[in-house]
Amino acid sequence: MEAKLTFKEYNENLRQGRLSGLKCGGCGEVSAQPRLVCAKCGGSDLEAMELKGDGTVQTFTVNYVAAEGRESEVPYIVVIVELDEGPWVMGNITGLRPEEATMDIMGRKVRMEGSAVFAGDRYSSGEVARPLFRLVA
């Protein structure tokens, strides 16, 4: 049992616009976050893979109340996307104004277009990237 994908690798790949994940050799489950053991079957035969970044919007919110240090970002849209490979990822949506975000976007197709980086604050351990998505249909 050894880590096939570390958070550092995941984060650096995402900063360069690539979404990495793990595929379970036992059951085929795909994870979009580093883990030591398959969440579905408990197996440890995991292999790193690159995810395409295509998926559908599952849910969203427009956040109006900022956490300390992120005041300049509000309002912004947070989305959960189900990737075509199966796993869910959280990111932001571009090309859509906050007031345009209604439940109509749920189920819409999106494509990942790069990433954005949370610069970190005094509590976090450095920069953390998240995927950016754009509605495609």
Binding site: T59, F60, E68, E71, E82, A101, F118, Y123, S124, V128
Partner: protein
Amino acid sequence: MRKVVIAGAGMTKFTGKQPRTAVELFGAAAAEAINECGIKPRQVQALFMGNFMGDFEEGQAHLQAFTADYMGMAGIPANRYENACASASAAIRDAFIWVASGQYDIVLAGGSECATKMGTPLATRTFAMASDSRYEYAAGLTFPGVFAMLTHLYAKRYNIPLETLKGQLYQVSINSHYYGARNPRAQFQKELTLEDARKSPMVASPLQLADCCPFTDGAAALVIASEEAAAKMTKKPVLIAGVGQASAGNLLSQKEFLPRIRSRELAAGQSYKMSGLGPRDIGVVELHDCFSIAALIALEGLGFFPYGTSGRAVEKGETKIGGKVAVNPSGGLKAKGHPVGATGAAQAFEIVRQLRGECGERQVEGVKAGMTDTLGGDGGTLCNMILRRGW
């Protein structure tokens, strides 16, 4: 395993900003619990204390040891529990297990929090620390955001128009404030009108301020004892009939279950099995309404109503006293307040008082069994307790 009871229960008034430290707040709640039992602090054999954010609120980690010392119990083992909003419930569950095992006869368990010392921006930041810093916070997820996304998911999954669901959610908050107005220890002792709820500012769409619990200072504590030890302390021991606890990964890793909370269904199942009781036997429940939608999800996960129907049940009054199950007669997290690390103990405090028939105009008449439900993070921890009259 031995039978374990709650022999005494104490709670401070829940408030906004106030001058006492978390140690002092816990001391006040614990003194009430201990005094009820007619025991001395030195008879307590261990302290299990929930606290979520003392580090950020007061620059104070490790406050459990100082609390034991403050109460004249120095020398006993003292543990802090950090399970986000479910911290105190995890502490109480462990107290139950240690007493049931025979290791201790008397344990003090509960929690304390001074969340308002942080102010809204820092509190919003630190509460978000109970989400995933790697895969959720980077995108700007806050706690209202978690439940906002669950609200949209719930509306879609159960095919409920968002406006209809919003109306049901307002009613959840209106009910909480109705009871909070009748609880002298609640932070908001004031009713909420539909008009005020509708006008309240948007926090994370579709949730408005009226859907959100406040930041709160407060503490609650229980004397957990073996049935035998408690015989000398109280004529009304409240039996801990069942407990359950489960965990889950971040929101994304719960994709197969949402908007259901899998950890709740596991924990509730454990509680029901251990107690031999089912949802029909529960007359009163204090459940985790950190946001209005969370109450609907909890009602269904605990088995009180079928999935997707609890909003209608709320509208029909089935969650008020006299309905199918009395929900949050304390005012819940929404109106009583939500001092994070103390919340589970405050829920248990209300159930204890309800079972003992001490709740005045918000009393559920003749209630014999009650339940607590405490959710930590975005479902990462879930604890349930089933309590019943032990006399």
